[in-house]
């Protein structure tokens, strides 16, 4: 278990009567990619702003890289890269000039700033357009420029608010690769999104937010285990006697539920990936295995199911 990069304790933010963030206890370890996921208005941005010391918490405590953002804002902001949602730049200035300004605000020495700017622009694939005004940039390019800016600090923690919002699928995928490359550099990443399926692939752990509370937290398989009572759905197409096959599948260690969906299509809900075992069992039971596959549950499923349950739970 790595060092804690972000740690909050009962962190709360109220706007009048509205509780935007409610007693949040969050810990993020070094090198992790953590996703704050939840619908619009669930308190993601507010949480991020408190981590950066840009909004003052109503109560509770925050530690970022071991520092208190309210008391040591400069140290925190020198080490943490932040890309706001819908990141904006000075449109009439070029990408490079925009970055130079940020480098100056970070008091980087001139030569070092120059080196880092070239490096960041190249890495984000913006080197050829570096001297064009940002006005001409697409949304995807602006996001990459946002990351280039964040990289200037050589940050230990990068916070990205809704980094894939408004990007086309290709652009979003590209951006997820950028996030993976940050992780490979050993940078801890905190990202937020209201599109759960888009980011579940890159997050080591996620926290699901709902009305200011973090209602679920863990890795995607863990959450699936918790909420869907089984992380893996193995499906098989088998020809053969139904009862024997059903029974064989039910006997599998780890199988929780077996259902027959079509005339020869079965579904096994299991706590792990049982494809190999299921195939063997079916064949041994005398069935003809035509095809099989596994569905890992999506966060959308988990989220939908969780709130279904909460709803029923409170209703009855």
């Amino acid at each position: 278990m790595g060092e804690l990069v972000v740690e909050t304790h009962d962190l709360t933010k109220k706007y009048g009567d509205l509780v935007a963030v409610d007693k949040l206890n969050l810990s993020i370890r070094q090198g992790e990619v953590f996703g704050i996921l939840g619908p619009n208005g669930s308190g993601k941005t507010t949480t991020i702003l408190m981590l950066l010391g840009l909004t003052e918490p109503t109560s509770g405590s925050v530690r970022v890289l071991g520092l208190d953002p309210a008391r040591q804002p400069l140290s925190v902001k020198a080490r943490v890269g932040y890309m706001p949602d819908e990141v904006g730049f000075y449109d009439e200035l070029s990408a490079r000039v925009n970055l130079i300004y940020i480098a100056k605000l970070n008091s980087l020495p001139r030569a070092e700033a120059h080196r880092r700017i070239e490096e960041a622009l190249t890495r984000m694939g913006l080197h050829d357009v570096a001297d064009q005004p940002v006005r001409t940039f697409s949304r995807g390019m602006r996001r990459r420029l946002g990351v280039a800016e964040v990289l200037l600090k050589r940050p230990q923690l990068v916070i990205l608010d809704e980094p894939t919002q408004g990007l086309d699928p290709e652009g979003a995928r590209e951006f997820l690769n950028i996030i993976r490359s940050l992780k490979q550099d050993g940078i801890t990443v905190l990202l937020s999104s209201h599109l759960l399926h888009q980011v579940q692939a890159v997050c080591d752990r996620v926290g699901l937010f709902h009305r200011g509370r973090m209602v679920l937290e863990g890795s995607v398989p863990e959450l699936a285990q918790k909420v869907l009572a089984g992380a893996y759905h193995v499906w098989l197409q088998v020809e053969g006697p139904e009862e024997t096959i059903r029974e064989a599948l039910r006997q599998l260690p780890g199988a929780q539920d077996v259902t027959r969906e079509d005339h020869n299509r079965y579904r096994v809900v299991a706590s792990e990936d049982l494809r190999a075992e299921a195939a063997r069992a079916v064949v041994q039971a005398g069935g003809h295995l035509l095809s099989l596959g596994v569905e890992t549950p999506s966060l959308d499923d988990i989220y939908a199911r969780y709130f279904e349950e909460v709803h029923h739970g409170t209703a009855t």
């Binding site: 740690e7 400069l74 904006g88």
Partner: protein, 329 residues
């Protein structure tokens, strides 16, 4: 990690580091924006045209008096020829216009461009951003006005064929300084509105409305208010005097009045009083003899400090509001 029992959130105001780190980066960036922007280009053309026009007209008028008037170059600023007002008359509204144009979108513009949260996520305090923007405005204003000043002195020397005396240069430099401070007031007014209003157009309108109020309506209002607050009941001279004094005090709440008085005293050395002049005050004074510069400056010292104090006050108000502002657009 052992959690210390959290103390109730007392504001620990021992802030880390310098509040001014990043200040000069902001000043440099903002100044570059001002000096390359289209907005300034238009205003520069406007002010140069005004200067050239009025100074040319003044030169025509002053030709005859060259040699008799020791302060002929100062007259360049104040001499008018129908139908044009004198250059200082133009300055009275050009300077506020430039100042407002420089600052009306300084803060809300960062919000509407969605750059504010990105900039404040850098290791700087809000103090540096706000003061940096203000200083950049003042420096730009100073640069423009100093250029105009040189232009006027230079063309006066050519047009009238007289070199400036040290006294004239000193007086006009003081005048330049006062003009910059006068601009400072409008700069901080516009900046204040750019903090209060999220729409730059609203902020511009509010600034211009404020300027109009003080230029046009405040004088009228002072004339209405003074008799109400200090009525003349019995017609004693003391009463009349008190009322006039009150009216004068009231008009001095307008930066325009302060600036006009400063301008008068600095550019017309023979002016020995900028308020009400009682016969007793003129006793023993040889009318028409110019005051030395130090006396003229002393005469309008309260007005000068008033201009500066108002600037600081308005800036401080904006500062407080900006510190409390949510950074989300």
């Amino acid at each position: 990690m052992a959690q210390q029992p959290e103390q109730p959130r007392e504001r620990v105001r021992g802030r880390e580091g310098s509040p001014w780190s990043g200040l000069w980066a902001v000043v440099a960036k903002e100044m570059a924006d001002h000096l390359t922007g289209m907005r300034m280009r238009i205003l520069e053309i406007l002010i140069v045209l005004t200067a050239v026009g009025t100074v040319y007209a003044a030169t025509q008028n002053l030709r005859e008096t060259v040699g008799q008037d020791p302060f002929i170059l100062l007259r360049l600023f104040t001499t008018s020829r129908e139908p044009l007002p004198a250059f200082v008359g133009f300055l009275g509204f050009l300077v506020p216009l430039i100042a407002i144009a420089l600052a009306f979108d300084s803060v809300n513009g960062e919000f509407s461009r969605r750059t504010m949260s990105r900039i404040l996520a850098q290791p700087i305090y809000r103090d540096a951003l706000l003061l940096g923007k203000f200083l950049a405005g003042i420096f730009t204003l100073a640069l423009v006005l100093a250029t105009i000043w040189l232009l006027i002195i230079g063309s006066g020397m050519i047009g009238l064929g007289v070199p400036p005396s040290g006294e004239e240069v000193a007086r006009s430099l003081w005048f330049l300084l006062a003009t910059i401070f006068y601009g400072g007031i409008w700069l901080s007014v516009a900046m204040l509105f750019s903090i209060i209003f999220r729409q730059p157009a609203t902020a511009a309108l509010a600034s211009i409305a404020t300027w109009l109020f003080f230029t046009v309506f405040w004088g009228i209002l002072a004339g209405v208010l003074a008799p109400i607050l200090q009525p003349v009941r019995y017609g004693f001279p003391e009463e009349i005097l008190a009322q006039a004094q009150l009216e004068l005090t009231l008009t001095r709440f307008s930066p325009n009045t302060l600036y006009t008085e400063v301008m008068l005293a600095l550019l017309q050395p023979t002016v020995r009083s900028v308020g009400l002049v009682l016969p007793i005050q003129l006793h023993g004074a040889v009318l028409g003899t110019p005051l030395p510069l130090s006396q003229s400056v002393l005469l309008v010292w309260p007005q000068l400090t008033g201009l500066i104090a108002a600037t600081i006050l308005l800036f401080a108000l904006g500062y407080v509001l900006f510190q409390r502002q949510e950074i989300r657009a």
